[in-house]
Symmetry: C2
Subunit: 310 residues, 2 copies
């Protein structure tokens, strides 16, 4: 089977359509609006956006396939320069395709979700897959957290006995808001630069990436349906807005996809579709002791074995 | 006159008290809350915060004086490594003191203001002043914009005929949201690494810094009083929230003070007091053609000679 650029980007595009249909079904009201865009330097994408839905307050499912050249300083700023040691070229061709999703539900009892899956090529030397999926509950419901992580473990275990442990820990480290010393949410899996190795072909890795992508709707739909009818009031909405500000801080300060997109002159509105509809900052906010808010914040740390919870 | 560390930081501290009193007088209701904090590695500061005032929805006036050591990688990440070429040390002592202000008014007709004044020493080799003041109107009122820039020009001109042109252009470049290709607001002045030179002593520079600092209350009070009684509604508040999100993007992605603070293990709540109370993101927001909103956005560009407007 040929798994060239085109077939990979075609698959990401079809996944985008499937996920939009799946989310529309759960939302019941709002359809996604679709914006197709071209990038001057090469390639383009399709941004699909939901706003003011019944269940989803704001969200986006982006597909893109872009190509162009990267200079040495650009490679350095993206931490890619080590790949090309020995080369005396000053510009390198790249190709990047993938799908990126962030969904901000209206109801604070329904978690924010993010998934990104991507394929990257640099010159003819380098090709890899990367990705991640992580859940950010405003109020953690332990049985949903356990379900989320168990499902991801199940997908990982089908492909490699080491994947889940490695990728779960990687997510803990990646989705971490350093200056707050707290994780963004309950994590999930994260992986990067998965390339051909002795015991894995690029095709094997693509199969894993497909299983993660196809898992998105069944997993997230279940969690949304479990919680979308839970009642909430202004007090919960305020806490949601305060937590969404941490999501903003992570995405603008640490997220590599945001950085890569902006550095490579990507489409700003597509990249920043990850921003919440509303965020709130309050000086030195502290939740009341033993409150539901305090309980969630206490659980925003690395190393919790969520999949082992009952 | 001795202008050692202590006298400089004492002056910044007294300026903080003066500015808080001045802002309280304009607000009429809310007093500043004051938090004194220590930094484990050395030094500390006083954060004074206003929230839910009559005029000021959220704001902070921070004073700090911190010291410690910076490693070569830390110096590199702060773009300070070039200063120490030739040295074979791996750690350098630093001292930094200053005042930092961001005020988010409730009424969208009153501009956001920011001022930062700072003094920095590295080992015994390097000492300089830096700073800046810039105005971010949600709705630009041209006569206030002209007044703001004329007052800054007046202060600059008292000290050096080149200051205003240089520092105004520097502000245009610094307070620029690269990925949006728009300025944060109407700019002001920005200067950095002003050290002793042939025709300026460090004392001369300190005098200039003092004049800028002492100008804050008279200048900003005038602008606040001109606009605080202008009526507004939810429509204007929404536009304010959308514009505040650009302020968030600038501060988290580009602001050097934020970066320096977080890299040197500063107090997070004091550094991020600059965040607005509420911010809103809407996918691909476009103002109505010829609206007041469109007019303001059109003016968010470099090179406008605001001080020459009538």
């Amino acid at each position: 089977m040929d798994i060239g650029k085109q077939s990979i980007s075609d698959w990401f595009k079809s996944l985008q359509a499937d996920i939009c249909r799946g989310l529309e079904k759960v939302d019941g009201k709002e359809n996604f609006l679709s914006d197709e865009w071209q990038r001057d330097e090469g390639g383009g994408g399709i941004s699909t956006i939901i706003q003011n839905g019944t269940v989803f307050e704001k969200g986006g499912v982006n597909f893109s396939a872009v190509s162009g050249s990267l200079s040495i300083p650009a490679l350095k700023s993206l931490n890619l320069d080590s790949l090309l040691s020995g080369s005396n070229k000053s510009e390198f061709d790249f190709f990047a395709t993938g799908i990126s999703i962030v969904i901000h539900p209206l109801n604070p009892m329904v978690p924010i979700i993010h998934m990104n899956l991507r394929y990257f090529e640099l010159d003819e030397n380098v090709s890899w897959f990367g990705g991640g999926i992580d859940l950010t509950p405003i109020y953690i419901v332990e049985k949903d957290a356990a379900f989320f992580h168990r499902e991801l473990k199940h997908i990982c275990d089908k492909h490699d006995p080491d994947y889940h442990k490695t990728f779960k820990n990687w997510a803990d480290d990646y989705f971490f808001i350093k200056h707050r010393t707290e994780t963004r949410g309950i994590g999930g899996i994260f992986f990067d630069r998965l390339s051909e190795s002795e015991n894995k072909s690029l095709e094997d890795i693509f199969k894993f990436v497909k299983d993660v992508g196809n898992g998105f709707i069944p997993i997230y739909s279940t969690i949304v349906i479990n919680n979308k009818s839970t009642s909430f009031n202004d007090y919960h909405k305020k806490f949601q807005a305060l937590r969404r500000s941490r999501y903003v801080e992570f995405n603008l300060m640490y997220d590599r996809g945001t950085k890569f997109g902006l550095e490579t002159n990507g489409r700003v509105e597509s990249i920043l579709m990850s921003m919440p509809p509303v965020a709130q900052w309050e000086y030195n906010y502290q939740p009341a002791p033993n409150s539901a808010e305090a309980k969630t914040i206490e659980l925003l740390k690395k190393g919790i074995e969520w999949h082992s919870l009952p």
